[in-house]
């Protein structure tokens, strides 16, 4: 089992969800956690104007997706996220990152099931 954490542009969320649904939904929806995060990479903050002064915040706001999948779905999920989150054309600085992390255990709270069927 793996946990896939993707940091993407907020406006790409819908695209990525649609792409993931095509890959992961097997009749009973798919599982996804989304939150809003701040950070910076090569991309810099957008300049804002405040009383005539130009202000550049250090951080950029992004959306973070977390999905947990069985090993067989990892590559398919990564491909789906890339398709949904990459800026049209050749992509752009700020498109984001995907991290794959080994997942030790997955438990369904409703039934107490564990493992591959509970992910």
């Amino acid at each position: 089992m793996k946990m896939i954490i993707a940091i993407i542009r907020p406006e790409k969320l819908e695209n990525v969800e649609d792409a993931l649904r095509a890959v992961l939904d097997e009749g009973d929806n798919f599982r996804l956690t989304v939150d809003t995060v701040q950070g910076h990479g090569r991309q810099e903050g957008q300049v804002e104007l405040f009383r005539g002064q130009e202000v550049k915040p250090r951080m950029v706001t992004k959306t973070r997706l977390t999905i947990c999948v069985n090993d067989g779905y990892v590559e398919k999920s990564i491909a789906a996220i890339l398709k949904g989150a990459r800026t049209d054309g050749a992509g752009a600085v700020g498109d984001g990152k995907i991290f794959v992390v080994p997942l030790e255990e997955s438990v369904r709270i409703r039934t107490g099931e564990r493992g591959a069927t509970a992910i």
Partner: protein
């Protein structure tokens, strides 16, 4: 007049919103408190002895004094005030609102770093020893600037210059915010509040300016109020437009805060002139004031002083500009240059500007220095970093992540 008084009081929450939206989230409540608390503190001071100092029997044209006015106890409820068709208490209350909002303006310069107890002590002493005497000099019949013929319809000198200059002095005495020093991004937490505040301020300003026709003899007062209302509207509108255009030219974008600031600059500048100039000239006054204040606000980075919310840049500079412009553009009760008169009025206005500037600056310096002997003016580094709301008031402005 009661409505006008209420309108002016509404400007205090309006100011609280205007300033509150511009600071960082961790300081939003503190900033708003500094405006709100003036209503409580100066509200009491005014009734007890503020009114007496400002408008009591003149002692040598320098200050008012009337023991019978302590807690307004000696006021005859039935008698009308002077030659006005209103009871004296109405006049007391109307003027009281001015006394309340003026010190609150100062809070704009020292936002995010002044200790609350020191602030309370400061506005109480400032109101008593700077505002009340200045109001007496300019507006009381026995006041020496009034007798000299300095025109100040609704408070360009008494309110805006005094507050603006005091704000600058206090800002310099307190020093720059840590994050200002570091050049860190200090962004407003809620411009929606700021715009709402600006709207309330404009609305309330009609009470501030048009209501000040109470100083004109009845029955001409009605016409004067109508003129003041018109010039107030005109100057604000022209100023908003001018600031927008300046910004577009200077930065390529028109900001909402810029429009709000321009509007306020126009309102400030027309305050001393409201009942003295024609509507057409009010448009010119507003536009020029916006340009002057826009330029003044840019100087903060040049001279590296931290007037957090531009109390001096807008109120100080706007007030000075407006007070001087009154001398040039007036047509009643005296004629300024554009109405075929002489430069004499401009000279008198200049005296008013110089006196209010010097007195406010000196008074602020002395009062703040005295307070510093007893309590620190500035908050600690930890309080500044964490934000004053939690440390001073034990509250958070927002709990957005609450379920």
């Amino acid at each position: 007049m009661l409505v006008s008084s209420a309108l002016v009081l509404l400007m205090v929450p309006g100011l609280a919103l205007f300033y509150g939206g511009m600071v960082r989230r961790k300081n939003v409540l503190t900033t708003m408190m500094m405006s709100f608390v003036a209503m409580a503190l100066i509200g009491v001071q005014w009734v007890l002895f503020g009114y007496s100092l400002a408008f009591g029997q003149s002692v040598g044209g320098a200050i008012g004094w009337d023991p019978s006015l302590w807690a307004l106890s000696g006021i005859d409820m039935a008698k009308t005030f002077g030659d006005k068709a209103i009871p004296e208490l109405v006049f007391v209350m109307f003027q009281g609102k001015f006394a309340i909002i003026t010190p609150a303006l100062i809070s704009g310069a020292i936002a995010e770093r002044m200790r609350f107890p020191a602030y309370l002590a400061f506005i109480l002493l400032w109101s008593t020893f700077v505002y009340d005497p200045l109001a007496h000099w300019v507006w009381a019949e026995g006041g020496w600037l009034f007798k000299m013929g300095v025109l100040d319809f609704a408070g360009g000198t008494v309110v805006h210059i005094a507050a603006g200059v005091s704000a600058l002095v206090l800002a310099l005495m307190l020093g720059r915010r840590r994050d200002f020093e570091k050049g860190a991004a200090i962004l407003p937490n809620n411009l929606v509040l700021t715009l709402t505040g600006a709207g309330l301020l404009w609305f309330g300003w009609f009470g501030f300016n048009a209501g000040s026709a109470v100083g004109i003899e009845h029955p001409v007062a009605g016409a004067s109020a109508a003129l003041a209302f018109t010039t107030t509207q005109s100057a604000a509108a022209a100023a908003g437009l001018a600031w927008m255009l300046m910004e577009r030219w200077h930065h390529g974008k028109v900001t909402s805060l810029g429009l709000a600031s321009g509007i306020v600059a126009g309102l400030v500048a027309v305050t001393p002139a409201a009942g003295h100039i024609r509507p057409g000239w009010a448009l010119v006054l507003g536009a020029l004031a916006a340009i002057a204040c826009y330029w003044a606000v840019q100087q903060k980075s040049r001279f590296n002083y931290d007037d957090s919310l531009d109390a001096f840049g807008v109120h100080g500079v706007g007030g000075m500009f407006g007070a001087l412009a009154t001398g040039v553009l007036c047509f009643t009760p005296v004629a300024g240059v554009v109405s075929g008169g002489s430069w004499e009025q401009l000279g008198k206005q200049a005296i008013g500007v110089l006196v209010s500037t010097a007195f406010a600056a000196a008074g602020t310096f002395v009062i703040a220095s005295v307070i510093k002997l007893f309590v620190p003016l500035r908050c600690t580094e930890e309080e500044e970093r964490d934000g004053l709301d939690l440390h001073v008031h034990g509250e958070r402005g927002y709990h957005f992540d609450q379920t």
